[in-house]
Amino acid sequence: MSEMILQINHLSKSFGSHEVLRDIDFTVEKGDVTSIIGASGSGKSTLLRCVNLLETPTSGEILYHGTDITGPKVNAAAYRSHVGMVFQSFNLFNNMTVLENCMVGQIKVLKKSKEEARAHAMEYLEKVGMAPYINARPRQISGGQKQRVAIARALAMDPEVLLFDEPTSALDPEMVGEVLNVMQALAQEGMTMLVVTHEMAFARDVSSHVVYMNQGVICEEGTPEEVFGNPQRQETKDFLSRFRKN
């Protein structure tokens, strides 16, 4: 049994009277690549945002190495520095260059020296193939490039888990591949990842675990072979068949 990083128990989230998540249970172990799939509005993104405390869960608990991080005394900023997040809309800092984007967190949060932060940032920027663009500003590079920088920025914090919130949904089709390639390589290196995605090929071929969400609950979960090869629930079958047709 490998090490448990995140354990989510009975998590619920409502926006007003609208219940978005209902009684969600699942765990993330070290090295897991979990893909969360499902139709739009099924609560996938909200679930991911709850895990990073960008949304406050209405009830339930999120255990990070056994400690509940939804409590009032928890330092959310410190927790988030261990859990990286990559957004659909990149959210790169517009007032900084590519390199500064990857350095600022290391300097301000991890209190590293400038030289150290620079070297570490360069390491990851090279990895995602963005090293030549360190002097560019976010507005000057393409969407796929922005997303690769965003991944490098998250990686530079040496997170234990990396959350991806539909990282390729805002990209032109020809740019999707470059981002997924990076993610696939990360998965092969053993990075623990939690990925909300509409890329069924990624979910099937790269992830170790697939969660299908429908209307705020986890409808089915298992290995990619189980969920894609032999779905048990009718909702899952319907959802997957819609994708196959396209």
């Binding site: 000057q140 920025r153 998250a154 090929a201």
Partner: protein, 295 residues
């Protein structure tokens, strides 16, 4: 050319103003009161620039306090203190935005003397009044500027573990400042013009000089012409300078590729030659290897 103007002025001295033409009167006024106009213009510019700068700092402070997020998770003391200051600053903004600066000047200048025995110099009073007035306007501008920054920027900063203060200092405020630069310029220009109301407490600024000169010689039109030209020159130059500064803030439109290393374009691009991945142009190759079809 200046010599001929000076000669003309010397000629005019001793002649009665009433017998002069429009242009002669203008020359006469410049010759006789030129230094006074310059002193007035200098004071106007000084008050406007310094008070706008101080006003921006006040506005930044107020805007930051107004946008401190208070959640139910925070303890009661913090919530009370933050709310208290937010309400207090709200009152400050509404009072100084909602009353004319002219009456504020009279109220503060004479009020301080009568109620608290504080006799401030007119220049000090000018800086004080214009600063807090600008601060009230800038507070709303800054608040709007902060709110106009994409919430995604805050989320991006939070996601790498930055605190609210770190997020504000490193990410939000630099962008806010850039966004409100046109508004700061607007305020500076408004202040250059609106300092004229300070003549009501005898601050020696440009309008005060004009009033003195015009009243002494009954040359209202001529003096007003000179004053108009000086005001317009000051505002145009300031507008131009601010535009230039904005451009500088934006930085260059181009950037240099860091390609000292010839491999830099390809290092770590995560390619698997001969193997392919499901997401690039080699996907067929990959599929064949897997012996499966794409979903």
């Amino acid at each position: 050319m200046w010599a001929s103007v000076q000669a003309a002025i010397t000629q005019l001295v001793g002649t009665s103003v009433g017998s002069m033409s429009f242009w002669e009167r203008i020359l006469y006024l410049i010759g006789k009161y030129g230094p006074s106009y310059l002193e007035g213009a200098g004071n106007t510019l000084l008050i406007a620039i310094i008070a706008t700068a101080i006003g921006c700092i006040i506005g930044l402070g107020v805007g930051i306090v107004q946008t401190i997020p208070v959640s139910k998770k925070d303890n009661a003391v913090k919530r009370f203190v933050v709310r208290f200051f937010q309400v207090l600053l709200r009152i400050y903004v509404e009072v100084f935005r909602g009353t004319p600066m002219m009456i504020q000047a009279v109220f503060i200048y004479y009020g301080a003397a009568q109620m608290f025995n504080i006799y401030m110099g007119t220049m000090f009073a000018a800086f004080f009044i214009v600063s807090i007035n600008t601060g009230a306007y800038m507070a709303e501008t800054v608040r709007g500027g902060i709110l106009s920054v994409d919430p995604g920027q805050t989320e991006g900063a939070k996601a790498i573990g930055m605190t609210h203060v770190q997020t504000m200092m490193s990410v939000i405020l630099p962008q806010t400042l850039r966004n409100i630069m046109p508004q700061i310029g607007n305020n500076l220009i408004i202040n250059i013009k609106d300092t004229c109301v300070l003549s009501v407490i005898s601050v020696v600024e440009l309008f005060f000089v004009h009033k003195g000169v015009a009243g002494a010689l009954y040359t209202y039109f001529e003096s007003a012409t000179i004053t108009m030209v000086i005001y317009l020159t000051m505002t145009l130059v300031c507008a131009k300078l601010l535009r230039w500064w904005e451009k500088k803030m934006d930085g260059s439109d181009s950037y240099d590729l860091a390609t000292t290393d010839t491999l830099a374009h390809t290092t770590g691009m995560y390619n698997y030659p001969g193997q392919g991945s499901p997401y690039d142009e080699k996907s067929k190759e990959y599929d064949q290897k897997r012996g499966a079809k794409h979903v």
